[in-house]
Amino acid sequence: MFGDYSLTDLSSIFVMQGFAGLILFSVYTLMALGLAIIFGQMGVINMAHGEFMILGAYMTYLCSTFFQNHLPALFSIYFFVAMALAFVASGALGMLVEWALIRHLYKRPLDTLLATWGLSLILQQSFRTIFGPREVGVELPSWLIGSVQVTDTIEIPINGMFVMAVTALITAGVAVLMYRSRFGAQVRAVVQNRAMAGAVGIDTEKVDRLTFGLGCGIAGIAGSAFTMVGSTGPTSGQLYIVDTFLIVVFGGAASLLGTIASAFSISQTQSTLEFFLSGSTAKVITLLAVVGILMLRPQGLFTLKVRR
């Protein structure tokens, strides 16, 4: 499959596909972070996670039209407002869902699967009713459009770099929150032993609600980033949810580093293979590799070594 290309062509292809992969990696990382927090913390498999992402994308879309029509002077910075709004909207909806639905199902993990799947259908239909069935795209401010010409054959899109920077910032923020803050310590304590966490004085219900909200909020930001690489429709989230689960399981459910590493390897494989083969063949190969590795290492890529 490499035969038709010269060596310089090939290296350029790898760099550019690698970069396209990095944007995909960013979206996956943000999605998987939220999912890993929710799954790792509560054992809840949130089938509606993709819809929380799409809610963030729609928020970004609303924000972009609002700024275009009412505040054109500030249009160049609307994206930051949009990300904040996406986080708040998805996070708030997440907390509401936790309060109304999820908290009644903590002792029935399989039922959460069904309940969140139902929720995802409800959300999809709501999106269709509110925003219409047609896919929408956002208008990017001028400074995010265009690309940097690195060499004759390699050019790198600016919005891609922006998405990556945002992802890096949020990942670092989540890492600090989980491993350096009091809230993070409480979350980890609840993850390990819910009853005991309560018995040392941690309000486990509050921690659950905030954690679920945080995970959904990050999905909202992922949606914001997603608007730069794809168009938003009511069912766009569905396409991402399976891959995201794959990433979380592949990385080792309780490990932040594992999640990032697995998002990276899966998105890079996917993106590079897609150039040379068809999209579905690329997917098949990626899935086969993941299944093979999980058979050898069922606990995922990264695990903590401690006595339990």
């Binding site: 009091r182 310590a185 409480q186 980890r188 304590a189 390990q192 032993n193 009853a195 005991m196 966490a197 309560g198 018995a199 040392v200 004085g201 941690i202 309000d203 486990t204 219900e205 309780a254 903590l304 401690v306 006595r307 339990r308």
Partner: protein
């Protein structure tokens, strides 16, 4: 089982240790059940401020259930739990901790993937303190040495000290320990007895410790209760305890 019915028939004489002092922990007519099967059948226990009470009994007699019911981990069926004059039986676990209960569970249950320091910090949640009080490290110097290690990689005795330090971090009025000697070597058990008394003297808190090891109970307790099939069947002060009689309750 014969002796059970014999002792249950004659209600035990309750020594009036408390006297005029208001109890720090007062349990009245406590019933607790797992689903339909009732485990505790109306316990009455009062613990004076600064008193160490040992609750003894064989496996399956309700010691751990008593502890878990006090902490709100096992739901209460009826009765009241009073800590320093405040009713806590309707509260969630974490609010009970805020009211002054602290718990060192059987098997220690430290957070194994978190560091020693983080483990102690979880106990600070209800006090809003940010830093681990120096006195805890003074009391357990080994924890200062190990403060960056993961809790799960500590030895059993070290984990026990960590679990006690974590409980003390919430500045409790009543400390509950469930079988603290289980799986710990004898020299450390003696050391732990000394530490518990030191904590009591330094902080004036009340301690309720459930035990199967009679020597440890005699070493630390001011008063010994024997629980059997969810009832208190024997009670005596440390000073006038009949060791042989208590030992009979414990022998299988």
């Amino acid at each position: 089982m014969l002796q059970t019915s014999a002792t249950a028939a004659a209600p035990p004489v309750i020594p009036s240790v408390i006297g005029a002092v208001a109890p720090m922990l007062a349990i009245r007519d406590l019933h607790s059940a797992y689903g339909q099967s009732e485990v505790l059948h109306g316990l009455d226990i009062a613990v004076a401020p600064g008193e160490i009470v040992a609750v003894m009994g064989r496996n399956g007699m309700g010691k751990t259930t008593l502890m878990k019911t006090l902490m709100g981990i096992v739901p209460i069926k009826s009765g009241s739990i009073n800590v320093d004059g405040e009713e806590v039986s309707t509260l969630k676990s974490h609010s009970r901790v805020a009211k002054g209960l602290a718990y060192v569970p059987q098997g220690r249950m430290i957070f194994s993937s978190m560091t020693v320091q983080e483990n102690i910090e979880t106990g600070l949640t209800v006090t809003n303190e940010r830093k681990v009080p120096q006195e805890l490290y003074t009391m357990f110097p080994v924890l200062l040495e190990m403060k960056g290690r993961r809790g799960g990689n500590l030895s059993g005795g070290q984990q026990q000290q960590l679990a006690i330090a974590r409980a003390l971090a919430s500045r409790p009025k009543v400390l509950l320990l469930d079988e603290p000697t289980e799986g710990i070597q004898p020299s450390i058990i003696r050391e732990m007895g000394r530490t518990l008394k030191k904590i009591r003297d330094a902080r004036g808190l009340s301690i309720v410790v459930s035990e199967q090891v009679l020597s440890f109970a005699l070493d630390v307790a001011d008063r010994v209760l024997v629980i059997e099939n969810g009832n208190i069947v024997h009670e005596s002060l440390r000073a006038d305890i009949d060791e042989a009689q208590v030992a009979r309750f414990l022998s299988v």
